[in-house]
């Protein structure tokens, strides 16, 4: 049975993003930990490329079990679940 996936927001450290090749290395590490294939990575780039370049963060649907391991990647500042907000 396929593992349940969660949408998460991954916030990268500015230092890692701004260093040469840093962003590519981070994306590769994230893809490895989250078991994202090339097609999934391409979709994420297409959808969140601008957010990544401008704010150093991206969003992705990943297996729930890999969330804690994502947090351990050097250069990943935070991994936040996509939650629901309400009109208050």
């Amino acid at each position: 049975m396929e593992e349940a996936k969660r949408k998460v927001h991954i916030v990268l450290s500015k230092q890692a993003v701004q260093s040469e090749g840093g962003m590519e290395n981070l994306l590769k590490a994230i893809a490895d930990v989250a078991n994202l294939d090339a097609e999934a990575c391409e979709k994420i780039r297409a959808r969140y490329g601008a957010r990544l370049a401008r704010f150093g963060m991206l969003s992705a649907e990943i297996p729930a079990s890999s969330i804690d391991r994502l947090r351990e990647i050097p250069g990943v500042e935070a991994v936040e679940l996509d939650t629901i907000k309400h009109a208050i």
Binding site: H9, V11, F55, M57, S59, A64, T83, I84, A87, I88
Partner: protein, 457 residues
């Protein structure tokens, strides 16, 4: 009193509480209820429908419970589905709505029910998923909504008689007076300042906003399958407080910055909720459109000492400090139940780079529901009127609502006024200007921040 006949005629189906809204104040309203619910007839009902606000209450054990708010032509009634169907056919009845909470917040979703390290739950504060919400909170929220609805009916009786409409239009919201905008105020109107309201959208056909927002231009929906048209009402109300016109269709002025350039991002669906991903998209869109102020009357409750959401803080801090900067202003949250308990500033208002707004009432007291500073994570920065706030609502009308949601657009509108008068202000300076130009609230800084925001003089 229960009779044998009543008992035998009762259906075993479960009753629920509804608000029955009648077309107008009339003695026939109670007759209609009586016909369907067998409340009794005769002198005991005569006059009860029109004489007072709540003159008639009848409890039949095990059967109907009726509260008639006669002056505003609304009754709170326990009904079975069959009774509801038959009552809706009565010619006096305009509509029947379930008297339920507008939202029962899933304080934390299933993926984050565990308390973060070092966090502690606020008194009387419980995660709603998978644990059901505190019924007391649900009741209080439902009560707040019911009061909002009833007071709206009382406030917005159609103007009658010669000159009544003009008199209504000439009236002035008490909220504007409190934020330093008297009727003759002419110092600023928000002209040339772009303000984005991220919420449930806007009633594009509302007489006070007709033509003001065009979908795809200064209105955009980020909710899958829904247009920017507001199917909820909350967004229209918030847009109204920010940018309602100086001269309205049927009531007095209620908008803080009537000439600002309004951008409407629909990030919450017609059910009143939305995902972080869509909200982040909305924030980015608003900034790309050149909005200098982003008003977000949305949020999620938070445990004491739980961290602020990193993705919102990254976004807000980058926008705040990039070039002229964008100031994000958000509602502190409504989870307090004063005087018995208080709740901490919610998310994302708890982010350091987002300005958190609390609500005060007519007496400048902190509103009973308004969240406050309870840890070193989320603090209240400023406050504004947020109880019985009159503004536009879906369907072309007006509604009186309460919440930190209503306080937030007041501050956003004030920010537009300040930016008009001092256009070179950077976003961080604008934030400081807002907190430095306040009047004191009758509350502590933990409850109301620097004080009640004021317009430039």
């Amino acid at each position: 009193m229960a009779s044998g006949a009543d008992s035998t005629q009762r259906r075993p189906t479960k009753k629920a509480e509804y608000l029955v809204v009648f077309h107008k104040r009339s003695e026939r309203n109670l007759s209609a209820l009586s016909r369907q619910l067998k409340l009794g007839t005769g002198d005991e009902l005569k006059g009860a429908s029109t004489a007072g606000l709540q003159l008639f209450e009848r409890r039949i054990p095990g059967a109907a419970r009726v509260k008639m708010f006669a002056r505003v032509a609304v009754a709170a009634v326990d009904l079975t589905p069959d009774e509801k169907t038959s009552l809706a056919k009565e010619s006096e009845v305009q509509m029947i709505v379930r008297n339920e909470v507008r939202r029962i917040p899933p304080y934390f979703d299933a993926g984050s029910t565990a308390l973060p390290a070092g966090a502690q739950a606020a008194p009387g504060f419980q995660p709603a998923t998978p644990i059901p919400p505190d019924p007391r909170s649900a009741y209080l929220l439902g009560f707040r909504d019911a009061i909002d609805m009833i007071s709206s009916r009382a406030l917005f009786q159609p103007p009658a008689g010669p000159g009544a409409l003009a008199a209504a239009q000439a009236s002035h919201s008490w909220c504007l007076d409190m934020v330093g905008i008297p009727p003759a105020y002419a110092k600023a109107s928000g002209k040339g300042v772009k303000v984005a309201v991220l919420d449930t959208g806007l009633d594009l056909a509302h007489p006070d906003f007709r033509g003001a927002v065009v979908e795809g231009v200064n209105g955009m929906s980020f909710v899958n399958g829904q247009s920017v048209q507001d199917g909820h009402g909350h967004g229209t109300h918030c847009c109204g407080v920010v940018a309602g016109p100086a001269r309205t269709a049927a009531v007095g002025r209620y908008g803080v910055a009537p000439d600002c350039h309004l951008y409407v991002g629909k990030v919450l669906g017609d059910g009143g909720s939305g995902y972080d991903d869509d909200i982040i998209e909305g924030i980015t869109w608003a900034a790309d459109q050149g909005a200098r102020i982003i008003s977000m009357s949305l949020g999620m409750a938070r445990y004491v000492n739980s961290p602020y959401p990193a993705q919102y803080e990254r976004l807000a801090s980058e926008l705040l400090n990039d070039g002229d900067g964008v100031l994000i202003i958000a509602a502190a949250g409504n989870e307090s139940e004063r005087p018995s308990s208080t709740a901490p500033v919610g998310s994302p208002a708890c982010c350091p780079s987002i300005m958190a707004v609390a609500a005060v009432d007519l007496k400048k007291l902190v509103a009973w529901f308004s969240c406050c500073k309870m840890d070193n994570i989320g603090e209240v920065n400023i406050s504004a009127p947020g109880v019985a706030v009159v503004s536009a609502f879906t369907g072309g009308g007006y509604r009186s609502l309460s919440g930190t949601s209503m306080a937030t657009p007041h501050v956003s509108g004030l920010a537009a006024l300040w930016l008009e008068t001092q256009p070179k202000l950077k976003a961080m300076d604008l934030r400081n200007t807002l907190t430095q130009n306040v009047i004191p609230a009758s509350a502590t800084p933990e409850d109301c921040g620097a004080g009640i925001g004021q317009a430039p003089r």
